[in-house]
C-alpha cells in the first residue's frame, strides 16, 4: 500500500472483522451454545440415559430434538413454507408444550429408515417419532422403549371401486401389485395361503412402479400399509375411482420410542400421549381447554392439574397437559387435522377411534 492512511483503514477493518468472527462462540458447535459444551465437560457422556438425565439435558438445551421421517404424508411432511405437519410432528410439539409450555421449542431432525435407530441410540435425538412399528425385537433388542401407539396401521389393499370388491377375500384369483422383498409381500402370501385362496403377485423393485402398474390396470389390487395406501391414492390419475379396503391383514402399531434407562423421560412421553387420548375421551379440545379448567369433573380436574400433583411427579409443572392440549388439540383433533376425512388423505378413524367409539385407542386414567 502506498498510502499509509488506506493501509491503516484496511487494517482496522480487517482486524475488526477478524475479531467479530472469532470472538463470541466457537463457530463449529452451531446453535449449540454454551449449554452443550458444559454438559460435555461434566463427563456425563458415558452414562447415556440415567434417570432424569434426558429431561435435564432437554431443559438445558432449550428445545426437544425430535426425529421424524424425511417426508410421509400425514405423519411428517414440510409444507410450502417449511412448516412440518403431521401426527408424528404434532406429538413432538405436544411434548415440547408439556415440558416448556411452548410447542415451538422443538427441532425436527429428518431421518432415513436406516439411521433412525442410531440417531436415538447416540443421543442425537431425544425421541423418535417416525412412524416406527412397535415390534418385540425392536423393543427388547435395540435398547428402546416404545411409549404407546399414535396410529394403528396395518397392511391393506387398494382396489378400483368399479370392481365391486368389498373385502380381501374377494381378491381370490386376482393379481396383486406390491414391492419385492418386503414383509408386505410375505403378509399377502400368508393371508391367502392360510385361507387356501389362489392369487397372483406382480412385484416391483420400487413403490412407484407398483403404483403405476396398478394405475394402468395390470393388477386388481395394490397393497401396502393402509396409511401409505391413502397417500399413494392421491398419485393415481383418478383418485376417487379407487378405494382402500377396510380389511387389515397385518398389525403395524406405529408409535414414538425413547432410549431405555431413563424412566422419567419415558413417563413424560407416555403420559403426554395418554393426556391427548384422555382429553378426547373427556371432551377437552384445544378450543375449550381454558373453560374446562373450571370444570367440576374430577377426571378433567386431575388431567388439567387442578387436583393432585401428577405433573410434578414426572418433573413437569401441574398444567403440563393444558399446554399440550392447547398446542395440538386432543388426539381426535390431531388425527382429523393431519389425516382425517377433511384432508386430502381422507382416512377414517377405524381402529384409531377411541375404545368407547369402537376403536382400540385406550389410555389409562390420570389418577
Amino acid at each position: 500500500m502506498k498510502n499509509p492512511l488506506v493501509a491503516l483503514i484496511a487494517g482496522i477493518l480487517i482486524g475488526a472483522g477478524g475479531l467479530y468472527f472469532f470472538l463470541p462462540y466457537d463457530p463449529l458447535t452451531l446453535g449449540g451454545g454454551a449449554a452443550q459444551v458444559s454438559s460435555a465437560g461434566a463427563g456425563d457422556g458415558a452414562e447415556r440415559a440415567s434417570a432424569g438425565e434426558t429431561l435435564r439435558r432437554v431443559r438445558n438445551r432449550g428445545f426437544v430434538q425430535c426425529g421424524v421421517s424425511q417426508g410421509l404424508p400425514g405423519f411428517s411432511s414440510p409444507d410450502e413454507r417449511g412448516n412440518w405437519s403431521g401426527i408424528d410432528v404434532d406429538f413432538c410439539r405436544a411434548l415440547a408444550a408439556a415440558i416448556f409450555g411452548d410447542p415451538d421449542k422443538v427441532r425436527f431432525r429428518p431421518l432415513s429408515a436406516k439411521d433412525r435407530f442410531t440417531a436415538l441410540q447416540s443421543g442425537e435425538i431425544d425421541i423418535l417419532s417416525r412412524n416406527t412399528t412397535w415390534t418385540m425385537s425392536r423393543d427388547t433388542q435395540l435398547g428402546f422403549d416404545f411409549i404407546g401407539v399414535t396410529y394403528y396401521d396395518g397392511q391393506s389393499f387398494m382396489v378400483r371401486k368399479a370392481a365391486g370388491i368389498k373385502s380381501a377375500r374377494d381378491l381370490a384369483g386376482g393379481t396383486i401389485c406390491t414391492e419385492t422383498g418386503t414383509t408386505t409381500e410375505l403378509n399377502v402370501a400368508d393371508y391367502f395361503r392360510s385361507r387356501g385362496l389362489s392369487y397372483k403377485v406382480l412385484s416391483f423393485e420400487k413403490n412407484e412402479e407398483a403404483l403405476v402398474a396398478y394405475d394402468r390396470g395390470r393388477c386388481d389390487a395394490y397393497t401396502t400399509d393402509a396409511s401409505g395406501l391413502y397417500a399413494q391414492r392421491l398419485k393415481l390419475t383418478d383418485a376417487d375411482a379407487n378405494m382402500v379396503l377396510d380389511d387389515v391383514i397385518s398389525k403395524e402399531p406405529l408409535g414414538p420410542a425413547v432410549r431405555q434407562g431413563d424412566p422419567q423421560w419415558e413417563d413424560i412421553a407416555r403420559w403426554t400421549l395418554n393426556a391427548l387420548l384422555n382429553a378426547e375421551e373427556l371432551g377437552i379440545t384445544s378450543g375449550n381447554v381454558d373453560e374446562m379448567l373450571e370444570s367440576d369433573n374430577p377426571r378433567v380436574r386431575r388431567l388439567l392439574g387442578r387436583e393432585g400433583a401428577y405433573g410434578e411427579a414426572v418433573g413437569l409443572r401441574a398444567d403440563w397437559a393444558v399446554h399440550a392440549i392447547r398446542a395440538v388439540g386432543n388426539y381426535g383433533q390431531m388425527f382429523e387435522r393431519n389425516v382425517g376425512t377433511e384432508t386430502p388423505l381422507g382416512i377414517k378413524r377405524g381402529l384409531n377411534a377411541l375404545w368407547s367409539d369402537g376403536g382400540v385407542q385406550y389410555a389409562p386414567p390420570v389418577r
Binding site: G31, D44, G45, A46, P73, P78, P110, A231
Partner: protein
Amino acid sequence: MAMEDVTGRPSPKIGMRASPVVWARRNLFSSVGNTVLTLASLYLLWLAIPPVLDFTIFSAVWSGTTRDACLGPDKGACWPFIWANIGQFIYGRYPADEIWRVNVVFALGAVALVPALIPSAPAKRFNLIFLLIIYPLIALVLLAGDRPGLRPVPTSEWGGLLVTLVVALTGIVVSLPLGIVLALGRRSSMPAIRMLSVVFIEFWRGVPLITVLFMASVMLPLFLPEGMSPDNLLRCLVGVALFSSAYMAEVVRGGLQAIPAGQYEAARAVGLSYWRTMGLVVLPQALRHVIPGIVNTFIGLFKDTTLVLIVGIFDLLGQVRAQLSDPSWTVPQGALTAYVFAALVYWVFCFGMSQYSNFMERRLNTARER
C-alpha cells in the same frame, strides 16, 4: 462422417460454406449406411422428443394455487407445485425472516465470482483472496449466525440449493489446493511424505462416498462422547472435501507426469528452489494440461452432493423429495415434475462449469492449438 481432413476432425470450412442441402447430403446421406443411421436417429428423436415437450410444455399446468389445478386426465407437468415450493427448494427450512442472509451470501458470491472468472478483469489477486478466504468466512458468519446481532441458525435448518452449493463449493475450494499438495507429495523423493500421500489417496479413493458419509453421520456419534460430536453438515463437508481431494490429487498427478524431465532440469539449472520450480514452471503447465480432468472432478462432485440426502441433510434433491410428501400437493405427475425441475437445475450448473472450462482451455491453449 465422410468429410474429414488429415487431422481427423471434420473440416469446418466445407461445413460452414455449403448450403444446408449440400451439407446434409455430404454429411448425413453420403452413403447407404449413413442414410440408414440418419433416418434411425431421426426416428428415435421423433419418439423421444415430442412426449417430453408435450409433458413439460404443451400439456403442462402453468398456473394454479392448489393441487386441484393439476388434477384431471391428460395433464402434464404440474409447475404450480414448483412455484409454490420454490422457496423451500432454494433455502430449505431456513427461517423465513432470516432469508436475507442467504440472499446476501448468494449476491456477494456472484459479485465476487463474476470478475474472478473474467480473465481481463482488474485486481485479480485481491479478488481471488477475497473469494477464497474472506468470502467463506463472511458466508459462514452470515449463514450460521451465533454472533452479536445475528440469530443462530442451526445447519439442520439449512436446505435446498443452499446446502447443495455449500457442499459443492466447499469441496471444490478445498479439494484443489489439497489435491495439488497430495499430488506433489506422491511424487516427492522423501519416503515419509510419499508414503503418507499414497496411503491417504488410496484410502479415500478406495472407499465409496456413501460409506464415508454414513461413517461420518451415523457411526461417529457412537464413538464420541455425547455433546462432543460436531455438526452433522460439518462432518459431511469434511468427508466430501477429503474424498474429492484424493481424486483431485490423481488428476493433478496426471498433469505432472506429462511435464518432460527437461523442464525440471532447466528450472534447477537456473537456480530455482523446489517450490519455485513447481510454482513457476511445472504447475502452470501441468494444471493447464488437466483442466478437463479438474472440471470433470468438479462436476462429478457437484452431482455427488446429492448423496448427503441419505444422512438426513436436505440438499436440493432431498428437499424436492420432501416437498413431494406434502399431501396438499400430492398429484399423479408430481414426482416426475419435481425430478425434471431438479435435473434442470443441476444441468444448468454443470453445463455452466463445463462451458467455462472450455472457454479457459481455448484461452490458455492458444499457443498450442493443433
